[in-house]
C-alpha cells in the first residue's frame, strides 16, 4: 500500500514535469529532433534537468541497504549490447520520429482529450501487448 502511494506521488511529479516542460507536446519534441530546421533545444534542457536529481539518487542508493518502502535497489545494469537493444531502440526511434510521442507524454496527453493522443496511446499499448505476449516472456527490467 505504501508502495502504491509512493508510486502515485512519483507519477504525479512525472506528469507535472511533462506539462511544465512541454514534453507533452509532440511539436516541441519534433522541433528538437528537427536538427536541420527551426531547432528547439528544450528537450536537452529537460534531459539535463532530469539527470541531476536522478544521478544524485542513484549515487545515494549505494549507501542505503534498501528502498524506503522495503524494495531492493536494481542491480547494476549488464554491459551486454545485444540485438534486441539496438533493434528495439531503432524501432522506438522510428515511431517517436513519426509522431513525436514517447510513452510518458503519450499517456499524459490522454487527459487533453485529444483524439490523436488517444489513438496513439491505444496503438502504443497494443504494441506493448504484442511484444509482451510474444517475444517478451522474460522481463529484462533494466529500464
Amino acid at each position: 500500500m505504501k508502495t502504491v502511494l509512493a508510486a502515485l506521488l512519483c507519477g504525479a511529479l512525472f506528469g507535472a514535469g511533462l506539462v511544465v516542460s512541454d514534453m507533452i507536446n509532440p511539436a516541441r519534441v519534433l522541433a528538437f529532433l528537427d536538427v536541420a530546421g527551426a531547432w528547439d533545444p528544450s528537450l536537452a534542457l529537460v534531459m539535463g534537468g532530469a539527470l541531476l536529481p536522478a544521478g544524485l539518487a542513484w549515487a545515494w542508493t549505494r549507501r542505503l541497504p534498501e528502498a524506503a518502502c522495503g524494495g531492493r535497489f536494481p542491480a547494476q545494469p549488464s554491459a551486454a549490447i545485444d540485438l534486441p537493444l539496438i533493434a528495439g531502440a531503432a524501432l522506438f526511434g522510428i515511431g517517436w520520429g513519426l509522431v513525436g510521442f514517447c510513452p510518458g507524454p503519450a499517456i499524459a496527453a490522454i487527459v487533453s482529450g485529444s483524439r490523436e493522443a488517444w489513438i496513439f496511446a491505444a496503438s502504443m499499448f497494443a504494441g506493448i501487448a504484442v511484444h509482451g505476449l510474444t517475444i517478451g516472456r522474460s522481463d529484462r527490467g533494466d529500464g
Binding site: V4, C10, G11, L13, F14, P26, P103, D142
Partner: protein, 144 residues
Amino acid sequence: MNELAWWWPLSGGLLIGLSAALYLLLTGRVAGISGIAAQAIGVAGRGGRSVALGFLAGLLGGSLLAIAYIRQPQLMIEAPIPLLVIGGLLVGFGTRLGAGCTSGHGVCGLSRLSRRSLIATCTFMAVAGLVVFLMRHAFSGGAA
C-alpha cells in the same frame, strides 16, 4: 508553436528527475514509463501491477493538475491517423524490445552511467532525428 522560456523545460526536467529519484529511493524501482505501462497491463512478467497502475494514475492526475494550475500546453499533433497507429505500435513494441524509452534509458539509465542505456539512447535519438529529417526536408520538398 510559441516560444518557451528556458526555465520551463528546465523546471519540468527537474520535476521528472525528482520523480525518478523518489521512485528509486522510496520503492527501489526504475521510472521507465515503457516498463511501467507494460506492468500496468500485465504483460511485464514480474507483477508490480498495482504499483504501476498507481504510477500511471498519478501521472494522469499530475498532468491534469499542472494543466489546471501551472501552464496550459498547446498540443500540436500533425500526424494523420495511419501514422498515429504505426507510430504507436512501433513505440510500444520497440520500447519493450529495447527494454526502455526516454525515461528508462534516457533519464534513469544515463544517470547511473549504464552503457546499455547510452547506446540505446544514442540509437533512438539518431533514428528519430533521421526520420524527422526525411519527413520534413527530404520527402516533403523542404517545407518545415
